[in-house]
Symmetry: C2
Subunit: 358 residues, 2 copies
């Protein structure tokens, strides 16, 4: 009874609901449940190595025969800048001292792996039905290999211009990521945060600009959001934050506690946590150092010097130095198993759409 | 055939569409056409004096028997700050020199009038069916007088907290103004732009927080937007930018030309034009001085020193120094008479809602 069946036919799924691939929060457990409920589960690889990815994909295939999505970051690896990295450690030094951590200890390397030749070879072997990218697309030769392997390719656009670029460069569907969305902004043709576009404005303009199906993302946390996204012309939705409430999500206790109390006006877009703009619940380091600062090292290096602070504070139950990603509609989330949530969202949206006919 | 009739019953209108009260763009001509088509026309008074308001209201009543809305700004008048006003003129001096205007000439006073006792007395006499405010509400005694005169009272909320405050202080309906909206942000309990909430996130959270009907605003420019806003739980919509395309709108030629070419990512929120955050199409002074600057005088004084630049540049066909307010969905607008546009929006949304039922 969905009004638009393009996404279901493209992905061979029952409901036009894509799980947001949230690195650190989503693993095979959540993917499997969403797939089994008829949505498209998405496995984030950004914080996994190749073997971990292979293990997770194997686990998914052991537990479900449904299609799934594997998601990669495709940023350009950072150019080290000793002066900036030093300035960043100096800025954070008072926090090291406060938490009793040696500021002279080596900074851990940050663990966001971009898609590369090795991961591409693994994808060609594993052949997940869908591969999604964030921060644009990898080089054309790699995109071609992924498509030649039979995988459908997705990526996120934050402007109409980015959507047109993604369509021209081979995407089979486009995620229109509104400014309300939690986690990293997918922006890749602009670095101008001031002109980033809200979900309500972005979705219909992207729909008008491209021929491929559009998946709306950003502040979609309940049945109302799904119905509204479809009304705006989206063929489906990508839902992240609402799935972080599920028992299957692997977020840390301070993050879960913050989400449960979250309000509409408690998130901001920050570059403090990783060096790249991302939306999360305001914590101490974002408030005191950001939310946007020119001294944060290039993505993902900013996260390196924060890692010891995160580990120590988190062990004491504090999210002061942790990425607590969330979109602006976290307050609409509710805690239930992912399979049940997916079904409730699908049924709720269809019921609402019937009711809206008047 | 609208699914939710609360707003139609409250305002005694046919369609849940409120004209955005855009000072400088809207006068009785546009109000009358929207009212006659079954929506709620809104007359902005912020740039009128009392007599002009009386003339406009008389004209509306001469031409339509339908209900209408009169809108007031209710900011606190600015505290003059000679040092800041001087610094502002110094910052703009190179533009004066470039355009051949004497930088030493007296700065015109800026013409945004807050609601006051005199205007309140006029409202009590004129008794418009609806009175809406921007920037919160006037002092409680004045709100009481407006309500005692039989007028319904509206105001805009940019956060759930503001919506709760407006309900507690007597609003009969609340406009949920998402961050995509054009013109001045209605924000009044916060000055934190970083945490302003997008339409898609704000509307359902405000709907959940208050009992009065919610009117969605921000990036609603076509039938899809109306259907989506209703799906999010709004009882109706307020539409501004799309009505600026109408021949009845009084925007200046550079503004009209910019709107016709507008893209999703060409507006920003700026305080350069008036001293208070407002969303508009990026022009030269916003790009070179802003979009946000600490040296802009308090609202509305920043506009004073810009006025001669605006007048001169505008007479030469340039919007370099003009407020060209627009939401983020200006590209969805199309030029047609306001009566026809209102009917097309209403019919389009109802048709879409029926189609969405699957």
């Amino acid at each position: 009874m969905w009004p638009d069946r393009r996404l279901m036919e493209l992905f061979k799924i029952e409901h036009p609901i894509v799980l947001g691939p949230m690195a650190g929060a989503v693993d095979a457990d959540l993917v499997i449940e969403v797939c089994e409920a008829g949505g498209l589960g998405s496995l984030p690889v950004a914080m996994l190595n190749e073997q971990q990815m292979r293990d997770q994909v194997a686990k998914i295939r052991d537990c479900t025969a449904k299609p799934f999505n594997v998601n990669f970051f495709c940023h350009t690896p950072p150019v080290p800048n000793n002066a900036r990295e030093h300035a960043w450690r100096e800025r954070l030094k008072p926090y090291y001292q406060e938490l009793g951590i040696d500021p002279g200890a080596p900074v851990p390397s940050s663990n966001r792996t971009p898609f590369d030749v090795a991961l591409c070879a693994a994808v060609e072997e594993l052949r997940p039905p869908v591969v999604s990218f964030h921060f644009g697309l990898p080089e054309a030769a790699l995109v071609k290999r992924v498509k030649d392997a039979g995988c459908l390719v997705l990526s996120s656009a934050t402007t109409v211009k980015e959507a047109r670029w993604l369509e021209a460069n081979g995407c089979d569907a486009i995620i229109a990521q509104g400014a309300e969305a939690g986690g990293h902004r997918g922006m890749f043709l602009t670095d101008d945060l001031a002109s980033q576009v809200g979900t309500f404005a972005l979705v219909p303009q992207v729909v008008d600009a491209v021929k491929v199906p559009v998946i709306a993302a950003g502040a979609i946390s309940d049945a109302r959001g799904i119905a509204a996204a479809l009304a705006l012309g989206a063929a489906g939705v990508q839902i992240g934050t609402a799935y972080m409430f599920c028992p299957e999500s692997k977020i840390l206790p301070p993050h879960r506690a913050a989400l449960k109390q979250s309000r509409d006006d408690e998130t901001v877009i920050t570059n403090v946590m990783t060096g790249r703009p991302a939306r999360g619940i305001v914590n101490r380091v974002m408030r005191e150092v950001g939310p946007i600062t020119a001294i944060a090292p290039e993505f993902p290096l900013a996260g390196g010097a924060l890692a010891p602070l995160h580990a120590k504070a988190q062990s004491q139950g504090s999210g002061d130095f942790s990425s607590m990603w969330s979109g602006q509609a976290g307050a609409l989330g509710c805690e239930m198993p992912a399979r049940q949530l997916t079904r409730a969202l699908a049924e709720g949206a269809q019921t609402l759409l019937r009711k809206m006919a008047g």
